[in-house]
Each structure stands twice: as structure tokens, then as C-alpha cells.
């Protein structure tokens, strides 16, 4: 009953989204004041009904209503309550519902902040958001409804993919979606500006905080996903250049370019059409990612085979939204050109290079992601593109970008020049070089040639970002929030670069087969296998090994890696044990029983890997400082309502659902099995996630 109500609620949400789109777009166009006035109510109503639909589905999960097919396929009575709730976004249908919920939360936030916008402009923004919402709700109802019944109902369900039974998974998809979908607001602002044919640059000022918030969420979401993959998959990787990861990374790269070009447009009125194009592209890449992941063209294969309408539908949606926006761009952009000049060494030109390089980087990722598809299309055979392509090609635009970041922060607008900061920058470059050389040759040793270069840039960016705060501290003046946020974000970038550099150059991993009492040497660390025992978890059996790690004869870690077999699905999963510290992680993962008491195991040493996620979080924090700092200054539209709206996970009705195939590579096999392959994966074929 509750489930049927959920379905009705979603249908009502569809109608309201339609009303929101119609009144929002037609109201200002036909100068109907009352139509315009109806838009915020429609948007709020839409949110309420989407939330009710989500609540109904969560209710079905909590009460173990296996007569709902989606629940039967993704939950089980043995599943702890917490995971029964997060299972709501464990597969395709529920994650689409989460997508819609997040979109309606952003919409609600726009409504709340819309009093700072001209009335008609706000109506148009909400109209575009309503159109998006309409498309996705229709998609969900037509092809991916999670409310379908399964009669006769099974006594118990198939359970959630074990890989997804993890606390980080609970927050990862909603946060990632908050970023992914958040770019829809930038998109809507860009469309509204183009519809109105605005020649001013006020829209850039309005759009900026929304873009920065979405960008910060996306950074957090990507970092969380990477962290989750790292410890959950158990093989020590933190980034796989998997299509699903790329799908979230491309919008982030373009989003980064967008926040920088927005700065130019807002401050100087330049790059207007380019900024619009970036805003359209960032969200288009989000949609494209959704298409690639959902249609099964690249990843989850089976969802397409099971339901070809899904791929076609998203493609049509893509066509309408992106095609429409780009057509509008083609018509409006020529009128928006501005011809103000700027010096070669000005802030503007640094930001221009930033944009060019980031766009190239996103293009590199896009090309690599689509290459298998293109090669298939041209009948060149199947092609697999991985780290050997991505790593070097990605460095080409990114290395110069890092160098420019250190300098660009101190370039002046318009007239240009670095006079004040030039000497400090040179000094700091020297210091950075020394620090990098000491790190590369002294601390970590035997570096690859690029290591000192990348490390120098990393340190240089951090030091350069400190100049401004220190100057303000010296002069005892208040550092503006936006500058503080910018400095913090750049420090985060430097930290990230340092982490990536050393974890790539100095990690050690070894696969060994050990009997109890034997040890293996990994770099300076000795891993000793003390034996293992069978243990029973809440919904799995496991074999748990005991590994002691010593360094110079002193014990530094006691690790308990597990190999789990989940009861319901029979899947086997490797749960790595990780001893984390700021300087290094030590990992042990159980492989297979190779007989005679011996187990194959993988041991790893990963220096500074924490800096990768820590850096990303600092970047996100910097973004948030910009957004909330602005808010304190007064009437500038800010995404204030958003964070409070998206955070409360697992708290009943607003607890959103999220992503079927979380950002990471693994789920392609097991998750697809579920959403597509009726009946799910066979038990006992196991280990797909960890294999």
C-alpha cells in the first residue's frame, strides 16, 4: 500500500515538475505575472512529493517488504537495518530516485535563495530545473520504477551486493550526486541568461556560489569514492580510470575551469560566452556520464540488454537538454562577445590558460572513456584503455597547469604584472625545489624523473598560496573570505599533488604465499603471518588472518585481513586490513587458500596516500569558505540551504538514495548482475568484486 502511494507521489511530482517547467518558462515569456508567481509553489510541491516517494521506498526496505521487486533484489532479512536503508540506492532504480531527490533539493535551495534574484530570471532558472526534473521523473516512471511488485513474493530477498555493505557507501553516493546534480543549477542559470539574452555579467555573480558548492560536493564525493574503493576492494588502488569514475571526474574538471572563468566574467565581464559554454558543458558531462553508466553502452552491460528503452530514453533526454542549450548558445553567444583587452601577464590570461589546460585535461579523459566505444563503432575491435593511456596523457596538460597555478594567484587584473610578488615567488620556488629534492632523493629515494618536478610544483603551490594570508597577518588586515577560500583550495591542490606524486613513485606491493610463521619483507617493513581462524559475522563467514608488521624489529601494526563469504549471495569478498598513518599506509589482504595451511596474500606499502583524499577535502573546504564567506557579506545568492538539505542521510524521508554503480570500477560486474540480470548473480561464483 505504502509503495503504491510512493508511486502516486512520484506521478504527482511529475505533474508538478511539468507545471514548474511550463510556468517558469512560459510565464516570463508571455508576461503572465500569475504564472511566474506559481513557480516556487510548484517547485516546493515537487520536492515534497519526491521526498514522499523516497520515504515510501525506504519504508519498504525497512519493513522487509519483499513483494516489492526492487527490495527483493537488493535487501534481505539478514541485512543490518542501516544497510537496508542505504540499499535503497544500491541499484539502478533507487539511484535514479536519489538523483531526482537531490535535484529537487537543489531546486528547493534555489527557491529559498531566489529573493536575491530578479523575479523573472528566478522563474526561468526554476523552469529549466523543472524541465530536467520532468525528464528524469518520467524516465524513472517509464523505464526504471523501483515500485514494481513481485507476486508471488519471495520469503526473503537477494541481499545487497556485499561490496556496497559499507558505511562510506552510505554517504558516498548522496554526496557525489549533490555535486554531479548540483551543476544542473549552473546549467539552469546559464540557460536562463541565454534565454533572456542578458548582456550584463550579473548572472555570473549569481551563478558562482552555486557552482562552487556543487564543485565542492563533487570533490568530496570523488574523494570518498576513491577512499571507499581503496579499502573496500582491498587491492590498494585508489583510482582506476574506470568509466564510472571518469563520469564524475570530467564534470569536476570542467567545473573547476568554470569557477575560474566565472571569476573573470564576474570581475571583468570577459569570457562571457566561454563561461556559458562551460556551465552547459559541466552539466552535459554529468548527463553524459549518467548515459554511459546507465545505458550499458560502456559499463553495466546488462541493463541495456534487459531494457533497451533506457539507453534510448536517456539519449533523447541528452539530445533535448544539451542540444537545446547548445543551440541557444549558437544563437546568443555572438551577441555576448566582449572586446576588453588584457595584458599577457594579467590575472585574466592566467585564468585563460587555466581554462584551456583544464579543458584539454577533461578532453583527454573524455577521449579515453569513449575510445572503446569509438573503436567499436568503427569496427576496429575491442579496445581497453587504462592507466597506461590516462596517466601520461593527463600529465601533459596538468603539469603546466600546476606551475601556472602557483604564479597566477598573484597576477594582477587587467594591466597585469607580478611586481609585488615576483621576488617572493622566485624565493619560494627555490625553497620548494630544495624541499622536493630532499623528499625525492633523501626521504623516498630512487625517484622517477618526473617526481622532483611534480613535488616542486606541489610545494610551490602550497607556499605561494600562503603569501597572501601571511601578508594580511603582517598588516593586521582582515583576509576576505573569498581570498581565504581560494588560498585554502590551492593548498589542498598542493597537498593532493604531493600525495599523488609519492604514492605513485614509491609504493611497493607484493603477492606472496605464506604458511603460519613465515614472513615477507616489503621495503623497510617485515610482514609476519601468524596464522588465521574462522570467524562469523552478522551475515557472512570469514577466514581471518593475523599479520604483524615490524620495522627495525619494532612492531608497528597488527593487521587482520579477512576473506568473507556472504551467506545470501555466496559471494566471496576480500576485506583488506589497513594500518593508516599520515606518512604511510600498510595493507594486508587475504587471497586464496593455496593448500598445506598456506594462503596467498598481498602486502603493500603506500607512502603519503592519505594526502590524496586529505588534499581533495581541503579543496572542498576552500570552496565552502568562498560560498559561506560571501553569504556573511550580504545579499548575494548563495547555496545556503543546500548542505543542510543533502546531508541528513538515513533519517527517514529525506534520506536520499543514490548510485547504483558507485563511482568505482568494481560494481560493474556485481551491480549489473542485479539490476539487469533478473535473479541476480549466481551464488558461489563469487569474488567478482575483489578479483
Amino acid at each position: 500500500m505504502v509503495v503504491e502511494l510512493g508511486n502516486y507521489a512520484l506521478m504527482l511530482a511529475l505533474l508538478l515538475a511539468g507545471a514548474q517547467a511550463f510556468f517558469g518558462l512560459a510565464g516570463p515569456a508571455f508576461k503572465r505575472d500569475r504564472w511566474v508567481a506559481a513557480v516556487p509553489s510548484a517547485a516546493c510541491g515537487q520536492f515534497v512529493f519526491v521526498a514522499l516517494a523516497v520515504g515510501a521506498l525506504i519504508h519498504a526496505f525497512v519493513t522487509n517488504d519483499f513483494s516489492v521487486r526492487y527490495v527483493a533484489e537488493n535487501s534481505n532479512t539478514a541485512l543490518p537495518l542501516f544497510y537496508r536503508i542505504t540499499a535503497m540506492w544500491g541499484a539502478h532504480e533507487g539511484s535514479m530516485l536519489l538523483w531526482i531527490l537531490v535535484l529537487s533539493l537543489w531546486t528547493l535551495a534555489v527557491v529559498v535563495r531566489s529573493r536575491y534574484l530578479p523575479r523573472e530570471f528566478a522563474a526561468r532558472v526554476l523552469g529549466v530545473l523543472g524541465l530536467l526534473s520532468f525528464g528524469f521523473v518520467l524516465f524513472t516512471l517509464a523505464t526504471s520504477s523501483p515500485f514494481g511488485r513481485l507476486i508471488p513474493s519471495p520469503a526473503d530477498g537477494n541481499s545487497l551486493n556485499p561490496v556496497l555493505q559499507d558505511p562510506a557507501f552510505a554517504i558516498h553516493p548522496p554526496i557525489l550526486y549533490a555535486g554531479y546534480v548540483g551543476f544542473s543549477v549552473s546549467f539552469a542559470f546559464a540557460c536562463a541568461a541565454m534565454i533572456e539574452g542578458r548582456r550584463d555579467q550579473l548572472w555570473a555573480r549569481w551563478m558562482r556560489p552555486w557552482t562552487v558548492s556543487a564543485w565542492a560536493f563533487l570533490a568530496c564525493g570523488i574523494a570518498l569514492g576513491s577512499w571507499w574503493a581503496y579499502y573496500e576492494l582491498g587491492w590498494g588502488g585508489y583510482w582506476f580510470w574506470d568509466p564510472v569514475e571518469n563520469a564524475s571526474f570530467m564534470p569536476w574538471l570542467v567545473g573547476t575551469a568554470l569557477i575560474h572563468s566565472l571569476a573573470v566574467t564576474e570581475k571583468r565581464g570577459l569570457f562571457k560566452s566561454w563561461t556559458l559554454l562551460l556551465a552547459v558543458s559541466a552539466f552535459s558531462l554529468s548527463l553524459l556520464g549518467t548515459f554511459l553508466v546507465r545505458s550499458g553502452v560502456l559499463v553495466s552491460v546488462h541493463s541495456f540488454a534487459a531494457d533497451p528503452t533506457r539507453g534510448v530514453y536517456i539519449l533523447v533526454l541528452l539530445c533535448v537538454m544539451i542540444g537545446g542549450a547548445l543551440t541557444m548558445y549558437a544563437l546568443r553567444a555572438p551577441a555576448m562577445q566582449s572586446n576588453a583587452g588584457f595584458n599577457l601577464l594579467s590575472r585574466e590570461s592566467f585564468l585563460l590558460f587555466n581554462n584551456i589546460l583544464l579543458t584539454i585535461a577533461a578532453a583527454v579523459v573524455l577521449a579515453g572513456t569513449l575510445a572503446p566505444l569509438i573503436s567499436q563503432t568503427l569496427h576496429l575491435g575491442t579496445l581497453s584503455v587504462g592507466a597506461p593511456y590516462f596517466n601520461p596523457s593527463f600529465l601533459v596538460p596538468v603539469l603546466p597547469l600546476l606551475a601556472l597555478a602557483a604564479i597566477g594567484m598573484h597576477a594582477r587584473w587587467k594591466r597585469g604584472g607580478l611586481t609585488e610578488a615576483r621576488r617572493s615567488l622566485l624565493w619560494l620556488l627555490g625553497i620548494a625545489l630544495i624541499v622536493a629534492l630532499v623528499l625525492a632523493f633523501g626521504v623516498y629515494g630512487h625517484p622517477m624523473p618526473l617526481v622532483p618536478v611534480a613535488a616542486t610544483f606541489g610545494v610551490w603551490i602550497i607556499l605561494s598560496a600562503l603569501i597572501e594570508p601571511i601578508n594580511h597577518l603582517r598588516r593586521r588586515t582582515r583576509l576576505p573570505w573569498s581570498v581565504a577560500g581560494m588560498c585554502v583550495a590551492h593548498i589542498g591542490l598542493g597537498v593532493l599533488v604531493l600525495g599523488l606524486t609519492f604514492v605513485n613513485s614509491n609504493s611497493i606491493e607484493r603477492d606472496v604465499a605464506l604458511k603460519p610463521g613465515q614472513s615477507a619483507q616489503i621495503g623497510a617493513y617485515r610482514f609476519h603471518y601468524g596464522g588465521g581462524q574462522k570467524v562469523v559475522g552478522p551475515n557472512y563467514d570469514a577466514f581471518r588472518g593475523t599479520v604483524t608488521v615490524t620495522h627495525d624489529g619494532r612492531q608497528v601494526a597488527l593487521l587482520h585481513p579477512e576473506r568473507r563469504q556472504y551467506w545470501v549471495q555466496g559471494t566471496i569478498q576480500t576485506k583488506a586490513a589497513i594500518a593508516a598513518s599520515p606518512q604511510r599506509d600498510l595493507l594486508a589482504a587475504m587471497g586464496q587458500n593455496v593448500g598445506a595451511g598456506a594462503w596467498s596474500m598481498r602486502f603493500q606499502y603506500r607512502p603519503l596516500i592519505r594526502l590524496v583524499w586529505f588534499g581533495a577535502l581541503i579543496m572542498a573546504l576552500g570552496g565552502m569558505l568562498c560560498v559561506f564567506g560571501r553569504r556573511q557579506r550580504g545579499p548575494v545568492p548563495v547555496a545556503a540551504a543546500v548542505p543542510s538539505g543533502t546531508v541528513p542521510l538515513g533519517t527517514g524521508a529525506t534520506a536520499a538514495g543514490a548510485l547504483a554503480a558507485p563511482t568505482l570500477s568494481v560494481p560493474s560486474a556485481p551491480t549489473a548482475m542485479h539490476s539487469v540480470m533478473p535473479g541476480g548473480g549466481p551464488p558461489g561464483t563469487g569474488g567478482k568484486g575483489a578479483a
Binding site: F304, I322, L326, M677, P678, G679, G681, P682
Partner: protein, 197 residues
Amino acid sequence: MKLKRSLLPLAGFALLLVVLIVGLVHSPEKDIIASPLIGKAAPQFTLPNLFAGKGPVSSAALAGHWSLVNVWGSWCVSCREEHTTLLMIKQQGRVPIIGIDWNDDDADAMQWLQRLGDPYQQVGKDPDGHVAVDWGVYGAPESFLVNPQGMVVYKQIGAMTPQIWQSEFLARIGPAAPGGATSAAAPVVSTAAGSGT
């Protein structure tokens, strides 16, 4: 001139769209899912009978008439969904259903058949999935239509429904003829979701 330049993004998008459409139409996965077995002789197998005491179940049971080979397991939700359809097929009596109980617990499987009814002429148990691998099984349920010459004619991935039975299976078997003689359907390569919109 200016308009032309601003058209570039749209042109790029159109190009991308072409790639995506072609990708969708020629989804590489279709080839994987369309069983390579179609048009070929059904893999030979001999499995112990699920019901101890009855003789082994082998591919010899497929010879000389149309048959339906159904891969299932008591752990599989969609198998339960298609169960009613299988019982209906049994009642029609057009073809015998040979069950392969895949990766299952014997007691669970027998209890399942007792409780829900047994649509199978024979059920072989394949606890390690060796036979399922030979048949290229991806997940359960899957159903194979084998013609009187012992050739796999069609493969259905996912739950059998009365519509699919009608449109994909009965259509290939042909009209019921007195005496059980049926026309041999030509092997057809088709995807699992051939019946989708």
C-alpha cells in the same frame, strides 16, 4: 562568421551523439549475451538427479523432440517469478522441461519444488556450475530451446513470461501438429531482450 564559430559546440555534440547512437545500436555486449551456442549442438552433459534414487539426467533426454532446458536455483528471485509460467508450460504439454538446478542446496531445491509445484520432467543438480559453464550461463534464470535435432535454437535470459513463451518459443516450435511432429525452425540469432520495445 561569429555565428559559425558559436555553432562548433553544437557540431561537436552532434558528432558525439552519432557515436553514442551507433554504440547503442551495436552494443558490444549484445554479442556476448546472444549465446554463441545458438545454431549449434546443445552441450552434452550428465548430471546426478536432484531426487536421489532416480537415474542421472543427461543430454540424451533432449534427443528427438523439442525441449526446454531451464537453469534455475532456489536462491534466485526471478526463478520464483517465472515458476508459474513454467507450470503453465508443463500443463500445455508441448515440450518437456529439463531443469538444471544451479549452485543450489539439495534440500532447499526439493523443498522449493514441493511447495511451488514441479514443472520439470527431470532435474539435474549442478552444484559446482560445471554444466552451467558449458551452456554459457550468465545468471539464473536462463532458458534454452533445443530442437529435435539437438540444436540450440533460442536462449532466454531472465524470467520466462507467457508473452515471451508465446512470441519467442512457441513461434519457433510451430503450430501443434497431431502426433507431435513439428516443423524444424531455422536457427535464429537473437538477443535476450529481443522482445523489448
